[in-house]
Symmetry: C2
């Protein structure tokens, strides 16, 4: 069965931007594509895809590259990252563990 996916405009734009952010970050640090790829443990070809904003690459590889060139996804520093983790866990325990379709009401408190 073919996969045949389609991506929303927002997704495509976000991917393109992330790629550019990485590219800029790499340039600012004076890193060669090969160097950065090596450090991230991926091939230069894959890094190229990432910088082009392709939807295919593994998210783990992309995040790894991001951390290497100083692109932070959620603009949290590491400490607050921990905090948010705790918060989210809290939230998750409070939330219902399975979603019933009959439940129509949802309020966006965040």
């Amino acid at each position: 069965m073919p996969r045949q996916r389609s991506y929303s405009r927002v997704t495509r734009e976000a991917l393109a931007m992330l790629g550019k952010l990485i590219r800029v970050g790499r340039a600012q640090r004076g890193l060669t594509a090969q160097e950065l790829a090596d450090r991230a443990g991926i091939s230069r070809t894959t890094l190229s895809s990432i910088e082009k904003g392709a939807p295919g690459p593994e998210i783990g590889a992309v995040f790894e590259v991001c951390s290497l060139v100083g692109v932070r996804l959620f603009d949290y520093d590491e400490r607050s990252l921990q905090m948010h983790h705790a918060r989210l866990d809290e939230k998750l325990t409070l939330l219902p563990k399975s979603v019933r379709r009959t439940v129509k009401e949802v309020d966006d408190d965040f």
Copy 2:
């Protein structure tokens, strides 16, 4: 050649957090895993991997899911997203187009 990758702690944490954010967002919207997966054009199995914070899934799929449950990676709204695009393009044209290893100097102005 085996791939054999390793991910930094930051990457792993970011992935875990993103997964939790998605999970919370989905719950808040009262969406079934199957429903969300359908809308994102992926299988429930893959969505499960994403929510678990696995490094493997395609970044396109993850971003698609994010946009569906209201998790924004860069806290830019769509409009400023355009702006940032322009800025990045500008920056890219100014930056050298290939990186020379002999260039030792790098200044982090961002």
